[in-house]
């Protein structure tokens, strides 16, 4: 494993986008940053710039307007990247399945690596999801390298 891979797996930078959530999940993501859950002890940093990010956390149902922004953010992120869908809305639309302006879960727009169910998921679940996404990202990177070699 190269130095960059190690650095990435030990210190993933996350980007958060709210595609149409009720704020519950967003606040829980922010709560992860605070002293009680303190994700920085795992090297996880929340960042505003998509070009610096490794993991994209998406909350909420996707509508047409936010799908465009979401796609845009995802395309700007450098490879390798992972997407974590957080909360029942991001997974399937959840309680908003009857709403007219809902396209469904995040996986209708982007490939999702890890699904974190719950409404709203506990910060523990979110951290667990990010850790899982890192594992998947690494696996994929290894597979790519093996394929290239």
């Amino acid at each position: 494993m190269g130095l960059i891979d190690i650095a990435r797996s030990k210190s993933p930078w996350i980007l958060h986008f709210d595609a149409g959530a009720c704020n519950g999940c967003d606040i829980e993501i922010l709560a992860c940053l605070t002293p009680v859950y303190d994700v920085e002890r795992f090297g996880i940093i929340n960042i505003g710039n998509p070009k610096h990010a490794d993991v994209l956390l998406v909350t909420g149902t996707v509508n047409k307007r936010s799908a465009r922004v979401l796609r845009n953010l995802y395309d700007q992120m450098p490879d390798p990247k992972a997407v974590v869908a957080i909360g029942a809305c991001a997974l399937s639309g959840g309680v908003f399945h009857e709403c007219y302006n809902v396209l469904g879960g995040v996986d209708s727009v982007l490939p999702v690596d890890v699904y974190v169910p719950g409404c709203a998921p506990k910060p523990e679940a979110i951290i667990e999801g990010v850790v899982m996404a890192l594992g998947k990202m690494q696996e994929r990177e290894h597979a790519r390298k093996r394929g290239a070699a």
Partner: protein, 138 residues
């Protein structure tokens, strides 16, 4: 309704008092509300099939004072943003979601407040103008 049992709560929050006004008198009635220094709360639009019932809610201290305008579908509704600028969001919302022809809104989003051009027009309306998408209407 058994309203008498809880005197402090019920009278304050009901739709009473509601004063019906005609479309032509709406702006004048709203100006009268402004002269009394009432705070504009919001407007509520109900699609009754052939007509729209539109309530305008104003706060008089802790009490509410309401106006009710009934207009036929396709009719024009004057904007009250010249009096209460705060109404611009709700009027744009009515225009987009119900398809009410609200004219002269101060900040007009041209029926594109919430949704994109790709979406079906007026999702809240019970009768769809033009093609009715499946699952719409009652």
């Amino acid at each position: 309704m058994t309203e008498a049992a809880r005197p402090p709560i019920a009278p304050v929050c009901d739709v009473q008092p509601t004063r019906p006004v005609s479309v032509g008198d709406l702006v004048a009635a709203v100006e009268a509300m402004a002269a009394r220094r009432l705070r504009f709360v919001t407007a509520t639009c109900l699609d009754m099939g052939g007509r729209f019932d539109i309530y305008y809610h104003f706060a008089d201290g802790v009490k509410l004072d309401n106006l009710l305008v009934t207009i036929p579908r396709e009719a024009e509704l004057p904007s009250i943003t010249a009096v209460y600028l705060g109404a611009f969001l709700v009027e744009n919302e009515m225009k987009e979601l119900f398809g009410i022809n609200v004219v002269d809104i101060a900040i007009d989003y041209k029926g594109r407040l919430f949704m994109t051009e790709l979406d079906q027009p007026h999702p809240m309306a019970k009768v769809q103008s033009g093609a009715t998408p499946a699952g719409q209407g009652e």
